[in-house]
Amino acid sequence: MANLQAFTSWIADYAATVTEQADYLTDLDRAIGDADHGSNMRRGMTRAAELAGAEEFTGIDTYLKKVGMILVSNVGGASGPLYGTFFLRMAGAFAEVEDAGVEEVGKGLRAGVEGILARGKAEVGDKTMYDAWAPALEAFDTAAGSGSDLAGALAAAAEAAAKGRDETEGLVARKGRASYLGERSRGHIDPGATSSTLLLESAARTLA
């Protein structure tokens, strides 16, 4: 079960993670993008952890909504609206939920990913963050369906995300900046799929 405190730790942990991995994420983006994904994520998550950390929240939903707003207002680029929308939509799933279990978190993730889809209109195989999210959601649901607790389901999701992320290496991008490279985008891992996997790994560490 994850309460507001756990969600706060999630955001703090992820902020620390992307700060540490900023150069790596930027290097990935340098190869097939514009060399800013690391600094975008670091800027946004640092603000989110700081600003949202400084306020008192009454629920998980208002907290996540705030995180989403901060990302929308501070990141820019493709990742700002995508991650921002993810948290804004996820927030909706936690109305009046004080302690989130496997079911609520599952709903939240699904709502968030639907937000990413609504904004980005990517499909599986387009070489975007959705290539991490799609298998992750499926793995989460399968685990939850076969009785896993939140910890188990998140671990399964993170593992599936990592696999999806790794598989982006072989793909030719059809969405986002990497699509301009055509065939040359093949052979590189997608930065957004990488930061998304980190977000799920961080959730597995902190939410259960």
């Binding site: 207002s73 820019g76 700002g80």
Partner: protein, 334 residues
Amino acid sequence: MKKLINDPADVVVEALRGMAAAHPDRLRVDLEHKVVYRKDPIRQGKVGLISGGGSGHEPMHGGLVGLGMLDAACAGEVFTSPVPDQMMAATKEVDGGAGVLHIVKNYTGDVMNFEMAAEMAAAEAGTEVQSVVVDDDVAVQDSLYTAGRRGVGTTVLLEKIVGAAAEEGRSLAECAELAHKVNGNGRSMGMALTSCTVPAAGKPTFDLAEDEMEVGIGIHGEPGRQRLPLAPAKDVAAMLVEPILADLDFTGDAGAIVMMNGMGGTPLIELYLMYAEVAAILEKSGVTVARCLVGNYITSLEMAGCSVTVLKADDDLVGLWDAPVNTPGLRWGV
């Protein structure tokens, strides 16, 4: 990384401070929102024109704010689209009752952030907002299944032409229609001799050997479609112009408006030399140059390289092109 900057994190706001200091007669800069405005408030009844995007393309967009062109430009971090808050603030500020047109370059990030801003602005203040997405880069294959073509050089020409139309009092619908027409008539193609370095990243986005160039680049220091051996200016001009001419027929009566644009690190002497080659190819292909620009207008930090934009003109477009403009980056007739 060799740059005339202080802390990489402060580059955008410090450059905006310099713009404010350099053009106090013409510009007003909101440093908090990182928005460049015309000095004088919008004329009631005039359509407001807003653009914006990542920084690092100067003079676009902040240097294209002024009479006969943009009313506001939202500056994102270097190569990172601005956030919706900026576009919302600008939209509110330049709403003169006739609605606001957002000029967006076709990058996933820009499109999504402008979209969110338009949704929010419509919900909040009831301002009528229309958008045009510029996607003129022939280096990118167009397809329904991809992000489509990038928005590059045509953006500058569009901002000039639609700026003139808004100034002469055309309605939001007319300005939007005109913007779509300009976008439909414009094509660009670019190349790089060197990469550039995003200040926050600290090292070049890509490496190019001394005898290589990238053809089919955009404006974000991203690698191009093809890495080729360095070639003489004559051949480079052909590589840029031919795909443009293959994509659209420019042999109309009113001719074309042509921009020979530098990527930031290429000196004017080379741009003029390149323009001679470009003009020769156009002439041989039966394309009349009605008007042209040679210089740095839509850049990619200190990248060496250039791009060519060709816009199929008609009398209306040429007339609007010739209308007075007074911005730091483009000025005539006033």
